[in-house]
C-alpha cells in the first residue's frame, strides 16, 4: 500500500515530474527551432540585414545554430543540467539573471492573485449556494457573468482611464516608481489595478463553479439522511457538502494555474508590469531561444507541479482514491 511507504509514494511522483519536464523541454526545443523567424535578429538587431553570407554563417556557427537540432538539444541539456541555461540573445547576459528580478514581480502579482481568487471564489460560491435563488445569489451571478465576459485588456484600459487618468489616484503602469524599488507602499499602490483585473476577471468563473457543485451536492441523497438525523443547514453545507466538492475544487484550481498565469501575462503587458509575461512575449517574438526555453520550462514545470500537487491533495482527502489499490484487503462481506 502506497501510504505505508512515503519514499516510494513521493519518489514516484517526483520521477513523474522530472520525466514530464524533460519531455516538455524536448517538445519546446523542437517547436521553437522549427518556427519561422531569424534568431540572429534578436542578437544583432538591424545589422543582420547588412551581413554577408559568410558573416551570417560565422554568427550562426558562433551561436551554435548550425548543428542538427538534436545535437543542439543535447548540448543545451548538458549545460542545463550543470545549471547553465545559456545567454539571452537580446540581453547578452545569463538568462537566469534576466529572469531573476522579473520572476519575483510575477510571483507577487500571480501568486497573491491566485490565493485571492481561490479564497474569494470559495466564499462567494458558498454565499450564493446558501442564498440559492434569492436576490443576493441572482445579483452575484449576473454581475459575475457580465464582468467575466469583458476582455481583460479592455477592462484594464477602462480602469487605467478612470483611476489613473481622470481621478489620478493610482499609477497606470510599472511595478514601482523610479527609484522606489524597495518602497513597499509604493509597490502596493502599483499592484492595485493589475491585481483587481487578475482577480476580477477570473473570480466569477470559479465562484459560479463552487455554487453549482454545492447545489448539486445539496440535492444528493446523503443530504436527506443528514437532514433526517437532525443536522442543520450549516453543518450539512460545511461538513458534508463542502467536503465532497473540495477535492474536485482543488484539482480544478491546480489546473487553473496556467489559465490564471496566462491572464497575468496579458495584464502584465497592458500595465507594462516588468514580469515574466512581458518577457515571454518578447522572447517568443525575437526568437530568443535560451530565454524562451527557460521561461516555457518554468511555466510548464509550475503547471505539472500543480497537477501533481492537486492529485496528492485529492488522494489525501478522498478515501476512495487513496486506497483503491488495497480494496481487496478490506472488502467486507455480509454476515447474516
Amino acid at each position: 500500500m502506497n501510504r505505508k511507504n512515503p519514499y516510494v509514494y513521493y519518489g514516484k511522483k517526483i520521477l513523474i515530474f522530472l520525466l514530464s519536464v524533460l519531455l516538455l523541454s524536448v517538445v519546446i526545443f523542437y517547436v521553437a527551432r522549427l518556427a519561422p523567424g531569424d534568431p540572429l535578429v534578436s542578437y544583432y538587431g538591424d545589422r543582420v540585414e547588412k551581413m554577408s553570407m559568410a558573416e551570417r554563417e560565422w554568427a550562426e556557427e558562433n551561436l551554435g545554430l548550425n548543428d542538427p537540432i538534436h545535437v543542439q538539444y543535447l548540448r543545451w541539456l548538458q549545460n542545463a543540467l550543470k545549471g547553465n541555461f545559456g545567454i539571452s540573445f537580446k540581453y547578452k547576459t545569463d538568462v537566469l539573471e534576466v529572469i531573476g528580478g522579473r520572476l519575483v514581480n510575477t510571483l507577487i502579482l500571480g501568486g497573491i492573485g491566485f490565493v485571492l481568487i481561490f479564497v474569494l471564489a470559495l466564499g462567494l460560491g458558498i454565499l450564493c449556494a446558501w442564498h440559492e435563488e434569492k436576490w443576493l445569489d441572482k445579483l452575484i451571478c449576473k454581475v459575475g457573468t457580465i464582468i467575466s465576459c469583458i476582455p481583460e485588456f479592455w477592462l484594464s484600459l477602462i480602469l487605467i482611464l478612470i483611476f489613473a487618468i481622470y481621478l489620478r489616484w493610482l499609477p497606470s503602469s510599472s511595478a514601482y516608481s523610479i527609484g522606489k524599488a524597495k518602497d513597499i507602499s509604493d509597490r502596493i499602490l502599483h499592484l492595485i489595478l493589475p491585481m483587481t483585473i487578475v482577480v476580477g476577471s477570473h473570480l466569477w468563473y470559479y465562484a459560479y463553479m463552487i455554487r453549482n457543485k454545492l447545489l448539486e451536492e445539496v440535492r444528493a441523497e446523503y443530504v436527506l439522511l443528514a437532514k433526517s438525523k437532525g443536522l442543520d443547514k450549516k453543518s450539512i453545507l460545511f461538513r458534508h457538502c463542502l467536503r465532497n466538492i473540495i477535492p474536485s475544487y482543488l484539482s480544478i484550481m491546480a489546473i487553473s494555474v496556467p489559465h490564471i498565469l496566462g491572464g497575468t501575462y496579458i495584464i502584465e503587458t497592458v500595465f507594462s508590469y516588468p514580469g515574466i509575461g512581458t518577457l515571454s512575449y518578447e522572447s517568443a517574438r525575437y526568437q530568443d531561444y535560451n530565454l524562451l526555453m527557460l521561461l516555457c520550462i518554468l511555466s510548464g514545470a509550475v503547471v505539472i507541479l500543480c497537477n501533481i500537487i492537486a492529485q496528492t491533495i485529492n488522494e489525501h482527502i478522498d478515501p476512495r482514491m487513496r486506497e483503491n489499490e488495497s480494496i481487496e484487503t478490506t472488502e467486507v462481506t455480509e454476515i447474516g
Binding site: 441523497e221 446523503y222 437532514k227 433526517s228 438525523k229 437532525g230 478515501p319 447474516g336
Partner: protein, 337 residues
C-alpha cells in the same frame, strides 16, 4: 389521548412546468405508538412523497396545499426548517431506499453515526459518544464495530450500509421511524435479513414505524396495519388481517392477484391492466376507474368517499355503497377458508 402521529386531509403538490402535480391528495391516517403501519402502492403513487412531507424533506418546488400534520396533538404543519431540525432524529427519522447513495462517501461510517448521536446531545463526552456508537452498531448487527468505525461507506456491502443507515436513524431514539422502501434496492437474501432486523428492533425499542413498500409479500411479514395508496390517495386502510383476508377495494384485489404466491400453476401471472395515471390534471371520479374491471358508471364522475367497514377498516370504493351491485371479490374470503 392524542395519537402519536395524525395526518388530516393532507395534500402535497409539486409545481412543475407542465402544471401542478398533485402527489398526495387528501390523505388522512393516524399512527399509534409502537405499531407498524405499511404504506403500499405502485411506484409513483405518492408513498415516498407522503413520508418526506411529514418530515419536511421535500425540495423547494413542493408544497403542502392543505390539511395538517399533528404530533402528540401538536400541529407541526407550519413549522419552519429550523423548528423541524429540532424534531428530526428525536421525534422521527428516516431510512431511505438506496443505501448506496444515502451515506456520505467521504466520511467514515462511525463518524456519520457519531454525528447523529451528537446532534441532539452536543455536550456529550467523546468517550460516551463512542460507546453509544458501538451500542448502535451492535444493535443493528454490524459485527466488529471497532474496526468498522473507521471504515468508509465504499468498504461496506449494500446490506451493511443499510444497517448503518438504520443505526444513524435510531441514534436519538426517535418515536417514529419512516422506512422508505428500505429493502427494495437490496438482493433478496439480504432483504429478508434487513426486514427481520427492522422487526426485531421495532419490537425491542417499540418505535412506531411507517413502512413504505410496493411489495405486499414484504408487508405481510412486518405490518400491524396496512394502508393501500393509489394516485396519491389512500384507497383502503385496515389491520393487516383485514387487508389480507377481507380486502374490499378493487385495487387491493388487483395488487393481491398480481402476487406470484397467489398464481395458480399453468396460469399466466396476473398484471393490472393499463398504467397509473399522471398526477397532473387527474380525471374526475376514481383515478383507478379506467383500470378497474368492476368500475361503475359513478366511478368516472364522482370520487368515492371512505366507507367504514369496521372500527379499523375503511375503503374508498363505490362498490361499498348500499345501492351498488353485489359482486364476488376475486380475492379475500375464500383464502382463509
Amino acid at each position: 389521548m392524542a395519537e402519536l402521529l395524525e395526518i388530516k386531509n393532507l395534500s402535497v403538490s409539486f409545481d412543475t412546468p407542465q402544471g401542478e402535480l398533485q402527489a398526495v391528495r387528501d390523505v388522512s391516517f393516524s399512527l399509534h405508538a409502537g405499531e407498524v403501519l405499511a404504506l403500499v402502492g405502485e411506484s409513483g403513487c405518492g408513498k415516498s412523497v407522503l413520508c418526506k412531507s411529514i418530515m419536511k424533506l421535500l425540495h423547494g418546488n413542493a408544497r403542502i396545499t392543505g390539511g395538517s400534520i399533528l404530533v402528540d396533538g401538536v400541529d407541526i404543519t407550519n413549522y419552519r426548517q429550523r423548528d423541524m431540525e429540532r424534531l428530526r432524529g428525536r421525534l422521527f427519522s428516516m431510512v431511505f431506499q438506496d443505501p448506496m447513495a444515502t451515506l456520505n462517501p467521504t466520511i467514515s461510517i462511525g463518524e456519520q453515526i457519531a454525528e447523529a448521536v451528537r446532534v441532539h446531545h452536543p455536550k456529550m463526552e467523546r468517550e460516551a459518544v463512542y460507546q453509544r456508537v458501538m451500542e448502535l452498531m451492535k444493535l443493528v448487527g454490524i459485527t466488529e464495530p471497532e474496526q468498522r468505525y473507521r471504515q468508509y461507506p465504499y468498504h461496506f456491502s449494500g446490506g451493511m450500509r443499510q444497517r448503518s443507515v438504520m443505526a444513524i436513524a435510531l441514534a436519538s431514539n426517535p418515536k417514529i421511524l419512516l422506512a422508505d422502501e428500505p429493502t427494495t434496492s437490496l438482493d433478496v437474501t439480504i432483504q429478508a435479513q434487513i426486514l427481520d432486523l427492522l422487526r426485531d428492533i421495532q419490537q425491542k425499542l417499540g418505535t412506531a414505524t411507517i413502512f413504505v413498500s410496493h411489495d405486499l409479500g414484504v408487508v405481510a411479514r412486518i405490518a400491524d396495519r396496512v394502508a393501500v395508496m393509489y394516485a396519491g390517495k389512500i384507497v383502503e386502510i385496515g389491520t393487516a388481517e383485514e387487508i389480507f383476508y377481507d380486502p374490499r377495494h378493487p385495487y387491493t384485489w388487483a395488487l393481491m392477484r398480481s402476487l406470484p404466491a397467489f398464481a395458480r400453476e399453468g396460469e399466466e401471472l396476473y398484471t393490472i391492466p393499463g398504467m397509473p395515471p399522471t398526477m397532473i390534471d387527474l380525471p374526475p371520479g376514481d383515478a383507478f376507474a379506467s383500470r378497474n374491471e368492476y368500475a361503475l358508471a359513478i366511478d368516472y364522475e364522482e370520487m368515492p368517499p371512505m366507507f367504514q367497514i369496521s372500527d379499523t377498516h375503511y375503503a374508498a370504493t363505490w362498490l361499498l355503497d348500499e345501492r351498488a351491485p353485489k359482486i364476488t371479490p376475486p380475492m379475500g374470503g375464500d383464502f382463509h377458508g
